[in-house]
Amino acid sequence: MTDGPPIPDGPPIAEEIEAARLAAIAANDAAVDAEVRRHTRRNFIVAGVAAAAGLGGWKWLRSRPAEGGVAWPLRRVLEVNERIAGALFNPNRLSPTYDLSQVMRPARVNGGIGLTPNVDAENWRLSIEGAASPVALTLDDLRALPHRELTTELRCIEGWSIIVNWTGVRLADVMARVPPPQPVRYLSMETPGRGYYVGLDIASAMHPQTLLAWAINGEPLSWQHGAPLRLAIPIKYGVKNIKRIATIRYTNVRPADFWGERGYDSYCGHRRKFILARSARI
């Protein structure tokens, strides 16, 4: 300390200088501690309020009345998601197809709601309601249309997926043969006695990979797989692939959907404006 302040008279007391230095440090540290305490208090109050708000929001969400099996705000968001998907929907996008050798045998059986073991294929009719005049088609009527074969993935809403081969006719071909009198937005499909039912938007129904199928993996459908006729709609989850169809109905009212009433997304994925534009081309 050669250029420091002049040392006052008297002997330089090292202890005093040291004490002053320590006091300065202590004062500084106390000031820092006080400041950090202030920061902490302020920020923890903000954090507490934010946490309480988050928790409140969660409690609010959990206590909302259900609509179609889920709290209504969740249902609203499912519908928003559906509109977004509909706006971006491209009907030319296809479900990936596979080689026959990739088919997973035996085809997994799942979902028996609406099925009864007794199938009377002879007397079975597919009735189409909401057409210009009510129609009841036999299997032979359907077989007269161009046959389609499709090897693709069946994706269950539970999370598993299998590769299956379908044989049948395009739903679009059936709809072209039995058109609705004027453009419609939806199709409803039901098993006999309405044990199971699905709602479909027209655009999905008309997708080229949507089939009314009578055979799976080259074999006629067993009753568990939905004999005599079921829907194969690979652009949707398995729950939409309704088995043993008895009735198809054209409608402009969004149809009831078995799982859609039980908390699931009744996801159709297509915006209404778009659906109307498509339906005009039936």
Binding site: F44, A85, P96, I157, G159, W259, D265
Partner: protein, 218 residues
């Protein structure tokens, strides 16, 4: 002498603490969905070391069985908030330049190894660091990359036909689901290590993630 040092910007603190409950909700609702088809395992060939599943009584005790529909509805609700918060965080780190402190460089791998040895008390000296050490840089960047892949694999499972090219990129629908699941396991492991490290680092470090400043003595 103590001094206050600014450590975490306000925005990063908000992103971090908003992400915490959102990720927890995504994992929980994801587990409600996974219950319906809890098929994954750790094993080689026919030898299964660990089934990624609980016995049904455990699922029941956790009140997590038969809630697939609810799980999906929650997942497709909170996915928006989770994605928006994550993207906002990434944009913020880029715009603010914080990314420079976060993204690892070519020395990071070697240094991270040294940090690990130091943490395990196998090495005396920790390598010099700025805000984050090399192990932190790698984990905090990796977790963001994982988040991106969770969004992409999730989208591939959600719309496997509309984004069939994306599903194909992951090896198909079933593989996309596989990756989506294991990424989640990765978050859980990250969480365990992260919390252990925070506990080890102490109060001053933890408090900085809330108040932004840290007390430094020199």
């Amino acid at each position: 002498m103590k001094r206050l040092v600014r450590k975490h910007p306000l925005a990063i603190r908000w992103f971090h603490w908003i992400n915490f409950p959102l990720l927890a909700l995504m994992i929980w609702s994801g587990a409600l969905i996974y219950w319906a088809n809890a098929v994954y395992r750790i094993g080689i060939g026919h030898l299964t070391l660990l089934k990624m599943n609980f016995p049904q009584p455990v699922w029941k005790a956790l009140h997590m069985n038969y809630r697939l529909a609810e799980g999906m509805a929650l997942h497709f609700f909170f996915m928006w908030l989770f994605a928006v918060n994550g993207i906002a965080y990434v944009v913020y780190t880029i715009v603010s330049g914080e990314w420079r402190l976060l993204v690892p460089d070519r020395h990071s791998l070697r240094e991270a190894w040294q940090v690990t040895l130091h943490d395990l008390h196998l090495r005396k000296e920790a390598p010099p660091q700025k805000k984050y050490n090399a192990a932190q840089k790698i984990s905090y960047t990796l977790i963001i990359v994982m988040g991106l892949f969770s969004l992409l694999t999730g989208l591939a499972i959600y719309k496997p036909v509309q984004v069939n090219w994306l599903a194909a990129l992951f090896g198909g629908y079933a593989m996309a689901r596989f990756f989506h699941f294991w990424l989640t396991v990765g978050y859980v492991l990250f969480f365990v290590v992260h919390v252990a490290q925070v506990v080890k680092a102490g109060w001053n470090n933890f408090r900085a993630m809330i108040i932004g400043t840290e007390v430094v003595s020199d």
